[in-house]
């Protein structure tokens, strides 16, 4: 078994696998088209300008300063002022009715505080269920307020400060696009490894070539390993494509170590490959393999990885369930390394969990491995 791994048969097999992939346009499209489309689509969604966002003002001060700022907000292209609210408590109702993207709250005595204490507060409340818009809007509003502050300083020569207090409602953690790239990476790697490996092995079972391969001196285990290697290579290429896109198209750099990122990704790819292998072991048709891969792997990964739907908001049972989804741990690792720029000391726990899962899956695979047709 061991002796058959790095020999000419192995490389002939790997070469054959690559030929399969490169001669099938559908596979190629899925391999490289999907990640490119995903990343660029979200990249453009990210850079989309926001115009005429409906905002609402709750002005307890109703003095010169507050009116001037409201005037500036109303004059900007970005905002479209709705009827002012009289009570702070009405804000939530306004958000719930829809339309409203942001609320600006001036406390009573705004102007007086500004003039006498040289410091005043404005509260910006945004609906962070749409995190992109929320950040963009509060950014625009802060700029406008800062402009006013500058004008005031130049006019009066005194160090006035207006503090803007941000409050996010509905999604205070501001899960947003920066989290998207790590999410896409986890999903694409899963898609390529689980779906493609299981389908390509089951395809050989279906077409009868597996029968011929089994009745050869090449060990069945060798067949599986040689199946896995091309997909490992393709997945790493895919990872590179996504990273390049995110760096050069989305302008989102990798803050941590590339080496660490690739090392951990390789581990995750092996986890996914073992999952694919397990699926190919229990299914006999390509459709079944595809269905199990999509419904059994991809859907839970989308749901329970935490990048589309925050895990914190889920019922406790589902949060517990999320722990057995490998993509969840990989997502945390990629986020830490890519965005926060953390080193191995910050992610060793998650890496250990992933390693444990991989070993478990490999053991199950070897135990369940079929050297015959039954």
């Amino acid at each position: 078994m061991k002796s058959s791994i790095p020999d000419s048969r192995f490389w002939a097999f790997v070469r054959k696998e690559f030929l399969h992939v490169f001669r099938d346009r559908k596979t190629l499209l899925m391999l490289f088209g999907v990640p490119v489309v995903c990343v660029t689509l979200f990249g453009f969604a990210l850079t989309n300008e926001i115009r005429n966002a409906k905002i609402v003002v709750c002005d307890y001060a109703n003095d010169d300063a507050s009116r001037q700022i409201i005037g500036k907000l109303a004059a900007s292209r970005e905002f479209q002022l709705q009827n002012p609210l009289l009570d702070y408590n009405q804000i939530e109702t306004a958000f719930k009715q829809g339309d409203i993207k942001m609320a600006v709250v001036f406390p009573a005595n705004f102007n007086r505080d500004l003039l006498h204490l040289n410091e005043a507060q404005i509260q910006l409340i945004t609906d962070a269920s749409d995190p992109n818009t929320a950040t963009a809007l509060s950014g625009y509003a802060t700029n406008i307020i800062m402009d006013y502050q500058q004008e005031l300083i130049q006019l009066q020569g005194l160090p006035y400060t207006i503090n803007t207090e941000m409050r996010m409602v509905y999604n205070p953690e501001l899960k947003s696009v920066v989290n998207f790239v790590p999410g896409v990476i986890s999903l694409i790697l899963l898609l390529v490894c689980v779906l493609m490996t299981s389908v390509s092995i089951v395809k050989e079972k279906e077409s009868g070539t597996m029968e011929v391969l089994l009745v050869s001196p090449f060990s069945p285990f060798g067949v599986i390993v040689s199946k896995a290697v091309p997909y490992l290579a393709l997945s790493l290429i895919n990872l590179t494509v996504i990273l390049l896109l995110s760096i050069f198209v989305l302008g989102m750099p990798v803050n941590g170590s590339f080496l660490l990122l690739y090392a951990v990704s390789t581990l995750f790819i092996i986890t996914a490959l073992s999952l694919g292998l397990l699926i190919s072991n229990i299914t006999t048709s390509q459709q079944a393999a595809m269905l199990v891969s999509l419904m059994g792997m991809l859907v839970p990964s989308i749901l329970f990885t935490g990048f589309m739907f925050p895990l914190e908001n889920m019922p406790y049972v589902l949060q517990l369930f999320a722990n057995i989804v490998p993509a969840k741990w990989y997502y945390i690792i990629v986020k830490s390394v890519m965005i926060k720029g953390l080193g191995f000391e910050a992610i060793w726990k998650e890496t250990l969990v992933l390693l444990g899962m991989t070993i478990l899956l490999l053991v199950v695979n070897i135990r369940k491995f079929k050297i015959r047709l039954e």
Partner: protein, 347 residues
């Protein structure tokens, strides 16, 4: 001198007995599916000698593929033992896998790889190259060579089978297992295929081949007739035909459909089966029929009696002639009443 010669010939004779090496042995093999519900192979035993071209003949669902899979170590038998080239199919599966060639029933090459790529791939899998055993596949491969750049999926049915045979032969196996290699292949290609098998046999390769086509049975040295997982007969095709106990007649008329039912209603006809252009009939045993009055007159010639009977039923252009039984006749007789043949035999 002549004494020495005589002795030599005895030695030769003894040698040839010793030379009968059992390459394939099955002892009481039973294989069931669906947790014992369906018996695919029911107590099957037979032996194949070295260099034999041995046929497994039976309709779809007879258990041919299961026997192949047990012998190629792909399935485990429920009970019984089997040996290929002296090795146990359960314990020594690795040795067997390295020394046999197997061509499964369905097309089992990579359709997206070219002819040459397929051959090269399978050669490498068996630790060999195309050149090493080129003489063995030369006859077949020269026909494929003009298309070597073509994807295997785009080949015709006959060409596909030739390529699959090349791939199964590339490592010069001791035993070649061919599961229905000619199913779905045109008549000319089938003929060519069997000629190739004969040449391979001459090279000393033991061949076990299965087919649902009864006419191909005659091309094998020995055959086993199998039905519903049970062996009906094991022998040379001519012996099996020679054992057919009755005289057989072929009958035809203008209205073949009505003729079949009429023949079955005539008392002197013992059995009647449709065989393409003719119905094959056997007459009842005369002794058993001695008491019947209308048959007594025509005692000497049952054909005349039949002719009369059919003319009375308004059949025209009646033709009755005696024929040698075919393997299919033998098969139907051995099966007894379990089988209703179709116009095209088993296909």
């Amino acid at each position: 001198m002549s004494i020495i010669h005589c002795q030599l010939s005895t030695i030769n004779c003894q040698l040839s007995i010793i030379n009968y090496i059992k390459m394939i042995v099955l002892n009481n093999i039973i294989k069931t599916y669906d947790k014992g519900e369906t018996k695919a192979v029911n107590n099957v035993s037979f032996e194949v000698g070295k260099g034999e071209l041995f046929g497994l003949i039976g309709p779809d669902g007879a258990g041919k593929t299961t026997i192949f899979r047990i012998l190629t170590t792909l399935l485990l038998p429920d009970s019984g033992t089997a040996y290929v080239n002296g090795f146990d199919v359960v314990k020594d599966y690795r040795v067997i896998r390295a020394s046999v060639g197997y061509m499964p029933g369905r097309f089992s090459l990579y359709p997206d790889l070219s002819v040459e790529e397929n051959l090269r791939f399978f050669a490498t899998m068996f630790n060999t190259g195309i050149r090493e055993n080129y003489d063995l596949i030369k006859d077949i491969y020269t026909q494929l060579e003009p298309f070597k750049e073509r994807r295997a999926g785009k080949l015709s049915g006959g060409m596909k089978q030739k390529l699959a045979l090349c791939c199964a032969l590339i490592h010069r196996p001791a035993v070649l297992f061919l599961d229905e290699p000619t199913t779905g292949v045109d008549v000319v290609s089938r003929k060519e295929f069997w000629e190739m098998l004969k040449r391979l046999k001459e090279q000393g390769i033991t061949i076990l081949v299965s087919t649902p086509y009864m006419d191909e049975a005659m091309l094998c040295e020995r055959i086993v007739l199998i039905q519903s997982g049970k062996i009906l007969s094991v022998d040379t095709p001519s012996t099996i035909i020679g054992q057919y106990p009755e005289r057989l007649f072929a009958v035809r008329s203008d209205n073949m459909g009505r003729l079949l039912s009429d023949l079955r209603n005539i008392e002197i006809v013992k059995s009647c089966h449709a065989f393409g252009g003719y119905h094959h009939i056997a007459f009842v045993d005369r002794i058993a029929f001695a008491g019947q009055a209308n048959f007594a007159d025509e005692k000497e010639n049952p054909q005349n009696a039949l002719l009369h009977a059919l003319e009375n039923e308004n059949h025209r252009n009646i033709e009755i002639r005696e024929i040698t039984p075919t393997i299919e006749d033998c098969f139907i007789r051995l099966m007894g009443n379990h089988y209703q043949p179709t116009a095209n035999g088993f296909t």
